[in-house]
Amino acid sequence: MNNILVTWKTHSNTLRDLQHGINIAQNSGAKSLLLLTCSQNFYPEQPLNFILKNCPIPIFGGIYPMITHQETLIEQGALIIGFKENYDVSVFADLQNFKNEDTLEALINNTLEAKQNFSGQDNFLMFYDALINNVEDFIDCLFECLDHGITIAGGGAGNIDFIQRPCLFTNSGLLANAVLLVSLPRKLTTSVAHGWTKIEGPFLVSEAQGKTVQSLNYRPAFEVYSEIIESTSDHKFQADNFFDIAKNFPLGIEDINNNLIVRDLILTTNNHLQLIGSIPVNSMVYILGGDTNKLISSSEKAAINLFSTPTKSTTQISMVFDCISRVVFMEDEFDKELQIINKYCPSSSLFGVLSIGEIANSESSAIRLLNKSTVICSW
């Protein structure tokens, strides 16, 4: 028996069509709705709020740069998944007001208390505003406060113009500065891949603050970075092409088990490098490079790894949180990544988002913020 009652998609950017889709999903008898829309739709906020607030069943999801359904990339439009089960949604709102660990901990503990510590709920999807600047603090704090290990997969919502707008769907309307934790009714399994490889390093992060690397090997970070890129490729940095080049050469933080956590570079100022995600002082980083084949190959491995397990059945729901930067990097060839994931997925219920930052468990079970990665999950 299928766990999804309805999958409705549109390439239209009108709210009228969206409302139509929501009506169809509601009429199917669905108990909760996942709503994923493209930032290109530019839905007017007020009427969208009206639709969300009037939805009689739990609704969650977000506005992402792009969304996917099976092997189709949707740049404009919406996707609605109607579940036959009730999905419980916990909303952590106004996170910009929780600036230190103590207040963040109090917020999380209050929610945990209200939700009986998520007792019996071990599997979650996480939708969050990619432009909140404390998402790593949030996931660290959530991990610390939870009294049991959880399996989690998620991705940052928003627009790639990096202007913060409300981007999360809840029954209270559109939210910015928030995290939605959606409790899943079944066990979640995840598989993570990125496919980026070291081209130079290691470098010691000799100075850093939050998401800014000030120096590498005691030299200005951009100076070191640009020297390496320009000496190992044909790229030359100009005043306005940093991101065009840097999207091909992310940084990788190597952990003790030689795993690389990829960090996207978004801009440079004062010879510093600005990342998506924090980087600790004295950590070791590499400059990474990739090619389409390696990236797709890693996603294939992740898909095989996830979907080849015997418990996977045709009734399972699968979702992909694929970093938007992979599309930017692979351009037209990104379709191949979707095709290959879809190829191994045993059910037709495969959909996803192109996200700004991805969330998954590390091998140690801690919750990590990833960049430029693919998180495939199934429940």
Partner: protein, 603 residues
């Protein structure tokens, strides 16, 4: 090369994470978080050595201390606090015992790595992989640095605690210096201080203020009869009620005992009305019964007040004046509050002068005892009441109605009472030497409240009897009904004890105190004296006759003699006789006489 750089960068990152906070737990948490992320841990834990009070401390050489779980990331495991996790707890114990770093592979494939934080505690990592030996070794200098930082934090924590407790003590001392221990209201010293400031403020800002002196009426009998615990509860309840009146312009303090002071500042042009309203509020607060341990008490108060700087600008004077006005209110039995008037001080001064005169009179033998004979219905003298007379050097013969209340307000009444006792005993001695009529029983003296309250009152009576060598049954004591009921239990014991020693007591002014007849039954007195107010015009007043008749029958029932005071006419005498009262005292039969004249009367 890469491995070496990795280890160096790991060491640096961990070292940088040490000592970022001063609080021990906060400092260790920062460190643990970095370990957690950098070493890809599943969980991380810190145990610290603690002293017997559970406070983290440095391990001293050769000393065995307990180690206590301090913090973990994540905080719990499957709904269970980590200290309840047997695998972890056992591993921590083994690590503590072995005092060397240890590792252990769990059944689920996870690893536990334990490290000693020199002299301070244990660091335990749970991992899904085996941490390489080189990495483990690289942690050693980090652990030493961590130990140093732990010590710094412990010293810091203890300093913080010490400062905190010192601050608490200082706050407490400051509070105690300003507040009354029982009620929490401002104490006398602080009220004086506040008043000083407020007077100055009133001068500078051309404002008016007021000092209200409040004294509870008849609080002492409650305190005496029900005990101080009840009295204290009443005071506390009242203080809480009064405290509800406090505001930025109203300060409230306990001046002592059942006396309270209210300071009102920044009064406007209608200041008199404001004070009046405040007094009304105070009376309303008192009108609510005080329910203490199922008993309900009703209290009233007397209030005197004074304005500053209009009436005075010194703290002492203002308080004194408000106190004087309060006494006037008490005397006048007014609940409206009385404003201080300079004439009150004049009156007080005259009173003080009068007390001085009395003292001198006592020293110069100006006091005399007069004796008013008491008769039976056959006309025989059965005894006499000793009455004090004072020949004032200026005013001449003073009325006891004037000087006795003044003497009672000061402690002079004790000295006077003692003189009366001794003089009466001396006179009894003289009487005993004469051939007294058979009907003659005793000389009675009046006892005041303050005398009765003295712990050695009975000893003083017995000493006087002994020193003069008189028969105890020749001396009688007269105590007013009101005096007896104020401290009924002690009075009953005292009278019973005196009776055992043949000293009889009479209840004076009976019928005026409205005391419960239940008490009367328990008082082992021998004589009931009908108050003169019921005797006057008894022949014409049915009410007086009815009361006298009731007292007479009460006396008979309780086996007490009944003596009527103030018999001044034949009609009164006959009427009393008809009602069954056979003992009398009054001008009709004899005026109070100097001792020598009394002797002649006896003869």
């Amino acid at each position: 090369m890469t491995k070496a750089l990795f280890i160096i960068s790991l060491q640096h990152e961990l070292a940088m994470a040490i000592g970022n906070k001063l609080d021990l737990k906060a400092m260790l948490k920062v460190f643990l978080k970095v370990c957690f992320n950098r070493l890809d841990l599943t969980s991380a834990h810190i145990y610290v050595h603690c002293n017997h009070s559970g406070v983290p401390c440095k391990l001293l050489p050769l000393e065995n201390m307990t180690h206590q779980h301090l913090l973990s990331i994540p905080k719990n495991k499957r709904g269970q606090p980590w200290p309840q996790n047997t695998i972890l707890t056992r591993f921590a114990q083994q690590l503590n015992d072995s005092k060397t770093n240890k590792s252990f592979q769990c059944d689920n494939g996870q690893y536990l790595f334990g490290f000693i934080i020199p002299d301070h505690g244990l660091l335990i990592f749970e991992t899904h992989y085996a941490i390489e030996n080189e990495v483990q070794k690289s942690l050693q200098p980090i652990l030493k640095k961590l130990a140093t930082s732990c010590y710094t934090s412990i010293v810091h924590d203890s300093l913080i605690k010490e400062m905190h407790s010192r601050q608490l003590i200082e706050d407490k001392v400051a509070y105690q210096a300003q507040h009354d221990g029982l009620t929490g209201l401002f104490n006398r010293q602080h009220i004086n201080y506040l008043l000083g400031n407020e007077i100055e403020d009133a001068h500078q800002n051309k404002k008016i203020g007021s000092v209200l002196f409040i004294d509870l009426n008849r609080f002492k009998p409650i305190n005496d009869s029900m005990g101080h615990a009840v009295g204290d509860k009443i005071l506390l309840t009242l203080s809480n009620r009064l405290h509800s009146l406090s505001s930025e312009n109203i300060d409230i303090g306990r001046f002592g005992g059942d006396e309270f002071i209210i300071l009102l500042k920044n009064l406007e042009i209608d200041y008199q009305e404001t004070v009046k309203q405040l007094i009304e509020k105070i009376n309303l607060l008192l009108a609510i019964p005080f329910v203490i341990d199922v008993h309900s008490y009703k209290l009233t108060c007397s209030i005197g007040y004074v304005y500053y700087p209009l009436q005075s600008s010194t703290v002492n004077n203002l308080i004194k004046f408000a106190d004087i006005a309060m006494y006037e209110a008490k005397r006048a039995k007014s609940q409206l509050g009385i404003k201080y008037q300079p004439a009150m001080s004049d009156k007080i001064k005259r009173r003080l002068d009068y007390v001085t005169d009395m003292k001198q009179g006592l020293e110069q033998d100006d006091f005399k005892l007069y004796y008013q004979a008491q008769f039976n219905h056959y006309g025989d003298i059965i005894g006499a009441e000793a009455l004090l007379r004072w020949q004032h050097p200026v005013h001449g013969m003073e009325s006891p109605a004037v000087y006795i209340p003044i003497a009672e307000e000061s402690d002079l009444i004790i000295a006077i009472g003692q003189w009366v006792l001794e003089q009466a005993c001396r006179d009894i001695k003289k009487l005993e030497k004469l051939s007294l009529p058979e009907s003659f029983n005793k000389i009675s003296i009046n006892i005041s409240a303050k005398q009765l309250m003295q712990h050695d009152f009975q000893d003083k009576i017995l000493n006087a009897i002994k020193q003069n060598g008189i028969a105890a049954e020749r001396l009688g004591l007269e105590l007013t009904e009101n005096l007896l009921v104020e401290n009924i239990e002690d009075s009953i014991k005292l009278i019973a004890s005196l009776k055992e020693k043949s000293i009889d007591c009479a209840i004076d002014d009976f019928g005026t105190g409205y005391s419960s007849l239940t008490y009367l039954k328990r008082i082992p007195a021998s004589v009931l004296k009908i108050d003169r107010s019921f005797v006057a015009n008894i022949a014409q007043s049915n009410d007086s006759a009815a009361i006298a008749s009731m007292i007479i029958s009460l006396g008979k029932t309780l086996n007490m003699n009944v003596l009527a005071e103030g018999v001044e006419t034949e009609d009164e005498l006959n009427c009393l006789k008809e009602l069954g009262c056979y003992h009398y005292q009054g001008f009709l039969l004899s005026h109070p006489l100097p001792f020598d004249d009394f002797l002649q009367l006896l003869n």
